[in-house]
């Protein structure tokens, strides 16, 4: 991570910013295991015209997630691995397992542009290059599920389980992989496969199942996979296979499940009288920014590193990074040690402290500074936390109240609002998780009283008439976005950014065209109903002849605006005045410094040069311009 000097001149306490905008710090290693048996190539939907196969769904989900990953979490490493294949490619040379990869990349490595590009064509070449074939048949002792797990586990050998998350995501539509085997061989195979999975889990690898199923042919987890991934009791009930009615829903569910929840941190929430519960915080909404830039040497394209040195302004001596800071105050320098500064910032000892409750109407629209943080209870360390959380959550929802709390950290402390959110779910699964959203409230220092800035003095300000409001109401009714969802737009700047990078990285000649989804729907706006409503509203506000008036007004204005006319006047004047001096002579004799700044500026303005700066700067600018 190289630094840019511009970036360093930011605040001292950037920690908080980092907490909000940094990418997650822990690294993740993922192996996608995709069942490629002939059964996976069955259409995934009953509908006749649907051509999409299970395989296609799995592959497109992985493709989407790779694309997100390269932007958001490019330090994570992935491997894509098919099983029940005709060809084999893996380190152990096991049958029926094929690890997909591209040049200049290890099997388990960070995703690259080429990988994504190649993977997007996988379906075209899959049959010819890799092939599909049942790996578990009664004649041979081969066990492709076992082999696949073994390969995945071997791939995940690198890195310590303490610092990285290791996951195997298994996509399959076969709920009973050993269905064709009978008798002792079957129990034996099941036993060894489950043992294999247990071994992997003991090594800190989590195995997650992403079952694909059709509404007429439900995926039965308890046949085999419940044992494999270790589902028991209550959790088994929670595990509902994605047997959505719609194909889109299934994709949605898969996509959501592929992301691992990452908690930002564990905090305690002290409620009253020493009762403190345990919460995990999650960053559900954070701005995604284009990745940091790295400075390169333009000659060699090799990365550069920035070295920072501190120089004492008084003596010019090289110094260590100083541990003291100062602020000038009342014409004096008041210095602080770093300890003192952090002591000042530490105003609270607890993590999150409840201060009280208020009705939701007290939470104003302007009470916002930053993206919110999601809170979900945990019983991991303090048993009983979840129960208290649920009780308060329910009361808050029912009484329509939010909690006010103080969130203290060593660097940044803030008053926050905790707003309870009930679970919302639809056919594609959970839309809003249950929990509380922590909203960072401004202090009075952060709020500006703009409204008062333009008060009309001594008289009433104009208000809309009832007729105007009626017309506006009609307009609102017309221009209604029924199913608007907050995150339906892709960020056009970001999309463009990565499309350009991709094109340049792959040496493509054409710059891709991006569609900006955020522009208004002009076609929709041109519908007669809307146009009429708009027109009526416009007339009620501006009167009948507004367009005409506006046009008249425009034409009555001279072509140049006030400012540019003024600027022109100054230049004209300067040219005139400038002619009164013999600049060459003045410069040669060093007499420029005898002129006033106003006089010097005649020259600069007449020659279209910047007129800012101190006298020395002006003189040197003139000399440079004269070529001296």
């Amino acid at each position: 991570m190289d630094l840019d000097p511009e970036d360093i001149f930011r605040d001292d306490d950037e920690d908080i910013e980092n907490e909000f905008y940094q990418r997650d710090s822990s690294k993740e290693l993922v192996v996608y295991l995709v069942d490629a048996s002939p059964k996976a190539f069955n259409p995934a939907s009953k509908a006749e015209d649907q051509e999409e196969t299970f395989f296609h769904i799995a592959v497109s989900c992985i493709f989407q997630s790779l694309k997100t990953q390269i932007i958001n979490r490019s330090y994570d490493e992935v491997a894509i691995c098919f099983f029940n294949t005709r060809e084999k490619k893996n380190l152990q040379d096991l049958n029926g397992v094929f690890v997909f990869n591209v040049a200049e990349r290890e099997y388990l490595d960070r995703p690259t542009v080429t990988l994504i590009k190649e993977f997007s064509h996988i379906e075209d070449t899959f049959m010819s290059k890799i092939g599909s074939q049942y790996g578990i048949i009664s004649e041979s002792r081969d066990n492709s599920v076992y082999n696949a797990l073994w390969v995945a586990q071997a791939l995940l050998r690198k890195g310590s389980a303490k610092t990285v998350d290791k996951r195997i995501l298994l996509f399959t539509n076969e709920d009973d992989p050993f269905g064709s085997i009978k008798g002792a061989t079957r129990t034996d195979m099941i036993r060894t496969t489950i043992q294999r999975a247990k071994d992997a889990q003991d090594l800190g690898i989590s195995i997650e199942l992403l079952p694909l199923s059709r509404s007429d042919d439900e995926f039965n987890v308890s046949l085999f996979y419940a044992d494999l991934i270790g589902l028991e009791g209550d959790y088994l009930k929670q595990f509902i296979p994605s047997a959505g009615e719609k194909l889109e829903d299934m994709k949605d569910q898969l996509r959501k499940r592929m992301f691992k929840k990452r908690k930002v941190r564990r905090i305690t929430f002290s409620i009253v009288n020493g009762i403190s519960i345990e919460l995990n915080t999650y960053a559900l909404i954070r701005p995604t920014l284009p990745g940091a830039i790295t400075w390169l040497d333009s000659v060699t394209n090799l990365p550069l590193k920035t070295e920072r040195s501190f120089i004492c302004a008084d003596t010019g001596a090289l110094v260590q990074e100083p541990t003291k800071r100062f602020q000038s105050y009342k014409n004096e320098n008041v210095s602080f040690s770093m300890e003192e500064l952090s002591e000042i910032k530490r105003v609270s000892t607890g993590h999150l402290r409840l201060l009280g409750f208020k009705p939701l109407s007290c939470l104003k629209d302007y009470d916002n500074l930053r993206p919110s943080t999601f809170l979900f209870p945990s019983d991991e360390e303090i048993i009983g936390s979840t129960r208290i959380f649920i009780a308060i959550h329910r009361s808050m929802l029912q009484l329509k109240r939010f909690a006010v709390a103080f969130y203290g950290s060593s660097t940044h402390s803030q008053v926050v609002a905790l707003v309870a959110q009930d679970e919302i779910a639809n056919s594609s699964g959970q839309v809003e998780p249950p929990g509380m959203h922590m909203i960072y409230l401004p202090y009075s220092d952060d709020i500006r009283q703009i409204e008062e800035l333009h008060m009309t003095v001594g008289s009433m300000t104009p208000r809309a008439t009832d007729d105007q409001i009626k017309k506006a109401t009609a307009l609102l009714r017309r221009v209604d976005l029924k199913d608007f969802s907050v995150c339906q737009f892709a960020n056009p700047a970001l999309q463009r950014h990565y499309a350009v990078l991709e094109a340049l990285a792959l040496d493509e000649d054409e710059m891709p065209e991006m569609k900006d989804e955020t522009v208004p729907d002009e076609e929709g706006m041109a519908r007669p109903g809307i146009v009429n409503a708009l027109e009526e509203f416009k007339v009620s506000i501006y009167g009948e002849n507004y367009d005409q008036e506006e046009a008249d007004h425009q034409s009555s204005k001279t072509s140049a605006s006030e400012a540019s006319r003024k600027r022109k006047e100054i230049t004209d004047n300067a040219v005139k005045e400038c002619a009164n001096y013999n600049w060459e002579d003045l410069a040669d004799n060093g007499k420029l410094k005898d002129l006033t700044n106003v006089e010097l500026k005649y020259y600069l303005a007449a020659h279209n040069l910047p007129v800012t700066g101190k006298k020395e700067a002006l003189i040197s600018r003139i000399l440079t311009h004269m070529g001296k």
Binding site: D12, I388, M455, P492, L501, V519
Partner: protein
């Protein structure tokens, strides 16, 4: 006078009814560039120019004329006299107005502010002619013609004390009349905390971020101005201090310049000049070099505009999707039609419970677009126009759709029963910060930032006593960071019931010393200096001590190093070494994780030193080296980089090949490990 500076005249009521509040005011510290004057009323003496010129205006003292803030000003405020006479605020306003006019004349319009702080317990005098109302109207007209603003901060509620309601009502009526006829506002405060918040001492004069058309469609536009409504006031950036200049040099700036050099990563001897650099953009593991000219040619360049995408039900936009600080859209001032248009839409939105979705590009050349939501802000005052608040909404890329288990799916042992639910309901009802008929506590408009407040006060203190220690947090500010003890004691029964109903216990499977987290000390005095759980630590330490006299099986808190060494030297099984090492690692992590203000650092350092020594002895360099890497990552993540600095300073480095043959770390690598890492991650 700079653009941001304003002329402020503080009109302070120091009559007996205000005496209990004056200590709060004495803490006020104004921004260094403001020009501030102070007028007291309700004083025993009289000292103002108007008395001398025309007579009258008794009990009004000009404490300080309008001047740039300096030490005298703050000192003057710190020793406010306690007045004895009932204060006449109208006299004070007239005196203040006279001072403003004499100081600024017609200049500085709109940046002249009179701030009246008073307890409306006393009537104003009957004027010589006309009614009190007439008098107020005359003064209001005068103020308007000079472009002065009047902010009234009026003390209310329990702070007022016993008051005659008739007088209160009359004063309310008069002040209301005043604020309607002038550019000003009235604020009621009921607690010292909100008084601090209401007297904004660091004012920023706002600038627009956009002026132009709000485009409903290509055929219908409304002229609007957009300002920031909220914007975080950051902790001031302090300059780095250099002590290299000789103490005799009185003109030393003590500043530190920062110089940057760019070097190739491989060949650190070669310095690359800044203009020879090119920006590389990351895309996965690849870095794509693109010159800025190239980039400008291809990057996303939307046109400056603010366009309506449509209206939608307010319930579609949940509150937690608001992304950033908030802007405000107001109609172009003075443009009647625009004001009406904004008003019509805002009122229609309010009526139908709708919001507008807009796409904004504030400036030409801005590299991105913002999609946000406009919510109506209907004005309650006749002379303030209606407006919209604007909040940024996330894009698809900004939302992470994590799945969480439904609360219903949790086992019944996690669900509250009926009594518990009732106790929770009661708690939520009773701990009410906005009880009807009273001031809303911790209203964002009146809650000052305790950290900034503390900093500026400490700055003032330090300018006088350079050696002063940071004082504890002021009691008024504590009302913001801690629950109000009064509120808790008022609702003691609800609180006690809640505590009785719910039980918390530590998960026995996890041995982590997280006790500190939930068994928080309830007594306030302990909180001030949270020394950690010395009590429990000592206990567990004792128990482990008794074990160690037999055979040490785990590392206790009291004598970790000795326990560790004892374990390492146990030779009854080879696994003790491994167990001791891993135990020690866990112990160090724990220490750091629970470290409070670095109090555990010394202990952790001791343990680490001992671990290092043992790993060399046992020829297990990898164990230590890997651990140091892990520890380093951990410190970065947990914001404990100061510990790494400590390590570097104490020369705790990787175990080198010279020390243990199995190590593949060279002397240089070891030496540079912490140093280099710090550079990279800075």
């Amino acid at each position: 006078m700079a653009r941001n500076k304003e002329g402020l005249l503080l009109l302070l009521d120091v009559s007996p009814s205000m005496h209990n509040l004056l200590p709060e005011i004495e803490k006020l510290i104004y921004g260094k560039s403001d020009e501030v004057g102070v007028v007291l009323f309700g004083t025993e003496d009289t000292d103002n120019e108007l008395t001398k010129e025309v007579g009258g205006y008794e009990h009004v003292v000009v404490l300080r004329h309008i001047k740039v803030v300096d030490g005298d000003m703050i000192e003057a405020l710190q020793k406010l006299p306690r007045g004895t006479a009932p204060g006449d605020y109208l006299d004070a306003i007239v005196v203040g107005m006279d001072m403003m006019i004499k100081k600024y004349g017609p200049t500085n319009k709109g940046k002249k502010r009179l701030c009246l702080l008073m307890n409306p317990l006393y009537c104003i005098k009957e004027p010589y002619e006309g009614t009190k109302e007439d008098q107020i109207d005359t003064i209001a007209t005068q103020m308007n013609s000079h472009g002065m603003k009047l902010d009234c901060v009026i003390v209310r509620g329990k702070l007022t004390g016993d008051a005659d309601t008739r007088i209160l009502d009359e004063n309310d009526h008069l002040l209301n009349r005043f604020s309607k006829r002038t550019c000003g506002k009235m604020v009621y405060v009921e607690s010292p905390t909100s008084l601090l918040g209401a007297l904004r001492t660091r004012n920023i004069s706002p600038v627009t971020i956009f002026r132009g058309d709000l485009e409903l469609s290509p055929r219908m536009r409304i002229k609007v101005w957009v300002y920031k409504k909220t914007s975080e006031e950051k902790f001031p950036t302090l300059k780095k201090y250099s002590d290299k200049a000789p103490p005799t040099d009185r003109f030393a700036t003590h500043e530190v310049k920062v110089d940057y050099e760019y070097k190739r990563v491989e060949d650190t001897n070669k310095i690359v000049p800044p203009e020879q650099r090119i920006k590389g953009y990351r895309y996965g593991p690849q870095v794509v070099p693109i010159s800025s000219a190239e980039w400008d040619a291809v990057k996303f360049k939307p046109e400056k505009s603010v366009k309506l995408l449509g209206f939608t039900n307010a319930s579609n936009i949940m509150r937690h999707y608001y992304m950033k600080d908030v802007n405000i859209f107001i109609a172009e001032p003075g443009n009647t039609r625009a004001i009406q248009a904004v008003s019509a839409i805002a009122r229609a939105m309010k009526e139908m419970n709708k919001v507008a979705i807009v796409r904004c590009v504030w400036r030409q050349g801005q590299g991105n677009v913002v999609v946000g939501v406009l919510t109506p802000n209907l004005s309650k005052q006749d002379n303030i126009p209606d407006s919209f608040y604007f909040n940024v909404l996330p894009f698809a890329e900004d939302v992470r759709e994590f799945q969480f288990p439904s609360f219903r799916s949790f086992p019944s042992s996690w669900q509250p029963n009926e009594q518990q639910q009732e106790a929770a309901d009661n708690l939520v009802k009773m701990l009410d910060l906005a009880p009807p008929g009273k001031e809303e506590a911790l209203h964002t408009d009146f809650t000052p930032n305790p950290v900034l407040e503390r900093f500026y006060r400490f700055l003032e203190l330090k300018s006088k006593q350079p050696g002063a220690a940071v004082p504890p947090l002021d009691n008024t500010l504590k009302k913001i960071t801690e629950p109000d003890s009064e509120l808790l004691s008022q609702n003691k029964s609800a609180v006690d019931e809640f505590c009785k109903q719910f039980e918390l216990k530590e998960n026995p499977k996890i041995k982590k010393s997280s006790k500190r987290l939930w068994r928080e000390k309830t007594s306030r005095s302990n909180e001030e200096k949270n020394v950690g759980d010395t009590g429990t630590d000592a206990q567990s330490g004792n128990s482990s001590r008794s074990e160690s006299s037999i055979k040490v099986e785990r590392i206790g808190d009291l004598t970790p190093v000795q326990d560790f060494e004892a374990m390492m030297s146990r030779r009854d099984s080879t696994e003790w070494v491994i167990k001791a090492i891993s135990n020690m690692k866990g112990f160090i992590f724990n220490l750091l994780e629970n470290s409070y203000e670095q109090d555990n650092f010394e202990k952790a350092l001791e343990c680490l030193t001992s671990l290092r020594k043992a790993c060399i002895l046992e020829q297990e360099p990898e164990q230590f080296n890997n651990f140091l890497h892990e520890l380093y990552m951990f410190c970065q993540k947990e914001d404990l980089s100061s510990f790494c600095e400590l390590l570097a300073s104490k020369q705790i480095k990787l175990i080198t090949k010279a020390e243990a043959i199995d190590s593949n770390v060279t002397e240089d690598e070891a030496k540079n490990f912490l140093v280099k890492r710090e550079h990279v991650l800075e």
